[in-house]
């Protein structure tokens, strides 16, 4: 292909998987939250808090894994605040989510004061003797950081959980009709709280991937809108785990590809290249959903509606 002259497709493919991981993690978490009927617009705030807390913990302990655990805990803690406000005090979900983003951005800037210019411990990469040295597959599949595999595993896990498990069925029931689920005796608020916490932990991990692996440094505001892209992705993927992954890889992939095309000096107008990740991702996800009238059914019917147990 002349279009790809001078570009190593394996390097680009490997880079796209890395670039897609933060939004993939955040989006799969938000998918579970929304499947339980809760719209949490605070993804950006939870991501950036995860980015700074994960960074701080990794620097303090010298362990990236502990950093990731702390990031997940921080994301979940912020999500826990959201859960208290939304489930306990029946606050408006949209307003609370937006406030969560603002709070997360501000709090992360405060926590991050002492970490400017600090370098985190190097994130370990998978190194399987033999496999990681394979010509193409080695670089593509067997040489990433732990979060890349976590992201894929989470997608598979969420898919299986929602589709095959009884708990997944209950979670979906809560998201479709909390009144019916409540009438059947399911603990609506507990299910939603757990889903919110899961979403927060995933977003925190996504943020930590930015600060510990992809960039790697702490910079104020470094998520730069990734949380909003993750939110949009869930909708365009019509709340289906594998499509979320497809969307994240498309977005990350085209973003990386267009930078490589530019660097290689391919003669395509740059302004089109720069907007292509947004356009192509939306187009593809809309098209695969378009000819199915029941696509709308995938939107949880009780999404964003507060639950108040009557009687």
């Amino acid at each position: 292909m002349t279009l790809l002259a001078g570009i190593d497709p394996v390097a680009v493919a490997a880079a796209l998987i890395v670039a897609a991981t933060p939004i993939l993690l955040a989006a799969i978490g938000e998918l579970v939250t929304e499947k339980a009927g809760v719209l949490n617009l605070g993804v950006e705030g939870m991501m950036i808090l995860g980015a700074v807390v994960g960074f701080a913990a990794a620097v303090a302990t010298g362990s990236v894994l502990l950093g990731l655990a702390a990031a997940a805990a921080a994301g979940a803690a912020l999500a826990g605040l959201f859960a208290v406000l939304v489930l306990g005090l029946l606050a408006n979900q949209v307003a609370t989510g937006l406030a969560l983003t603002l709070f997360g951005l501000g709090l992360s800037a405060l926590i991050g004061q002492g970490y400017i210019g600090v370098r985190p411990p190097p994130a370990g990469r998978l190194a399987v003797p033999g496999l990681s040295d394979l010509p193409v597959l080695g670089r593509l599949v067997f040489s990433h950081d732990v979060l890349v595999y976590t992201g894929v595993a989470l997608v598979a896990g969420v898919w299986a959980f929602l589709r095959f498990s009884r708990a997944g069925l209950i979670l979906r029931a809560v998201g479709e009709s909390h009144d019916a689920a409540h009438a059947l005796g399911f603990p609506v608020r507990r299910v939603r709280a757990l889903a919110i916490l899961f979403g927060g932990a995933c977003a925190g991990l996504g943020g930590a991937h930015l600060s510990l692996v992809r960039v790697p440094q702490w910079t104020e505001g470094m998520t730069a809108g990734a949380g909003w892209i993750a939110l949009a992705l869930v909708v365009f993927a019509s709340w289906r785990p594998w499509r979320v992954m497809l969307g994240a890889w498309l977005f990350g992939g085209i973003a990386v590809l267009q930078l490589n095309l530019q660097a290689a000096g391919v003669k395509i107008p740059v302004e089109y290249l720069a907007m292509s990740p947004y356009l192509v991702t939306i187009l593809v996800l809309v098209i695969i959903t378009a000819d199915r009238p029941r696509a709308a059914l995938h939107a949880p019917a009780a999404l964003g509606r507060p639950f108040h147990a009557a009687g």
Partner: protein, 357 residues
């Protein structure tokens, strides 16, 4: 999200207005395109603001709003600042150009200072800019002498004259030092997105670049260069903390003295609209200490160039220079005029690729 942040800032300003006005300090407002924690461009403007605070103490009251998108949002923020009784507003990014002039028309008593633009439609608008291209000429020379692959990676933000001028200045001096040099340019279409800037740096390294230049504001490209063992140059701010081995030098924007001077003029009642473009000579453009990794001869060449620019004996855009298409731009010995530079929309001869529209 951003707008809510600004609403809060606006409310804070309104509260400040309601407070008892005892000594009536001069109110100075700043708007930044990125977070002050970018440790690049917006950070340095904020360093300038803090210099004003330190210099005047109680006589001034400064405030700022960060991460203000270029466009309608900027207009809203400046309107709020003006309504809150701000005396002088520094709008610190190119894209605030039209918003500044729109708001200035509605508030003739508020002074507006716009950085890096060229529109001055009202008597209460002043323009200030730094000759960043002087620094870019120096780093172009150093880059060309340090590269082993002869490929320099350049992360550009938006195709505006400021950025194109920087690419041209760096390229001209790189080619002069090393005729084999090649520039690979990536347009990021953002001023601040660390993840994207990091990806851009990786893509350029993948394409053979071993020295990275950036005209975006975050420290991410520096971090990537440090991680992978390549060289880079700090943008707007000394980024040595992010790349102790990678940073060869940095172009530092030193706004403090200018801000102090202009605020003093507001206090004295002598503020007037003006259009200034200051450089190394006036210490508005300052180079960070040259890295130990630069060999002595290269260091001497770079220092000589800086001294000549500072003394006013050398202008980085001195002919003969042709445009990219081969047509002559400057004859031998001819020096570019400021107007052409500030509207620069063409590459010089030798740069590959086209400028996006």
């Amino acid at each position: 999200m951003q707008s809510t942040k600004r609403m809060l800032a606006g409310a804070a300003l309104a509260l400040a207005l309601a407070a008892p006005a005892a000594a009536e300090p001069v109110k100075v407002g700043y708007i930044y395109v990125g977070p002050i924690g970018d440790y690049g461009y917006s950070h340095e403007h904020n360093v300038g603001r803090l210099a004003v605070d330190a210099h005047f103490g109680d006589k001034v009251e400064t405030s700022y709003v960060e991460s203000v998108p270029e466009g309608a949002d900027a207009e809203r923020v400046m309107t709020q600042m003006a309504l809150a009784g701000t005396d002088i507003i520094f709008a610190t990014s190119f894209g605030y150009m039209d918003p500044v002039n729109n708001v200035a028309a509605r508030f003739p008593d508020v002074r507006f200072e716009h950085a890096t633009g060229y529109k001055r439609e009202h008597p209460n608008v002043a323009l200030y800019n730094a000759r960043f291209y002087e620094g870019r000429a120096v780093i172009g020379h150093i880059a060309a002498r340090m590269t082993k692959t002869n490929v320099i990676g350049y992360i550009a933000s938006y195709p505006i004259p400021e950025v194109i001028m920087g690419i041209n200045a760096a390229y001209l001096h790189a080619r002069k030092a090393n005729p084999q040099i090649q520039f690979k340019i990536v347009w990021a279409y953002t001023w601040f997105d660390p993840a994207l800037e990091a990806d851009a740096a990786n893509a350029l390294i993948e394409q053979g670049a071993d020295v990275i230049m950036q005209h975006t504001d975050s420290t991410a490209p520096m971090a990537i260069a440090e991680q992978k063992g390549f060289y880079a140059f700090g943008q707007a701010s000394d980024m040595i903390a992010f790349g102790p081995n990678a940073q060869l030098t940095a172009i530092i924007d030193n706004w403090g003295p200018y801000y102090i001077d202009r605020v003093q003029k507001v206090i004295d009642g002598t503020w007037e609209s003006q259009d200034v473009w200051l450089g190394m000579k006036e210490d508005m453009v300052v180079m960070a200490p040259l890295s130990e990794r630069i060999p002595a001869d290269v260091r001497a060449e770079a220092e000589a160039m800086m001294a000549a620019i500072k003394a006013g004996t050398y202008h980085p855009f001195t002919g003969p220079i042709n445009r990219q298409d081969g047509t002559p731009w400057l004859a031998a010995g001819e020096v570019a005029d400021d107007k052409t530079l500030l509207g620069m929309n063409f590459y010089v001869e030798g740069i590959e690729g086209a400028i996006p529209n």
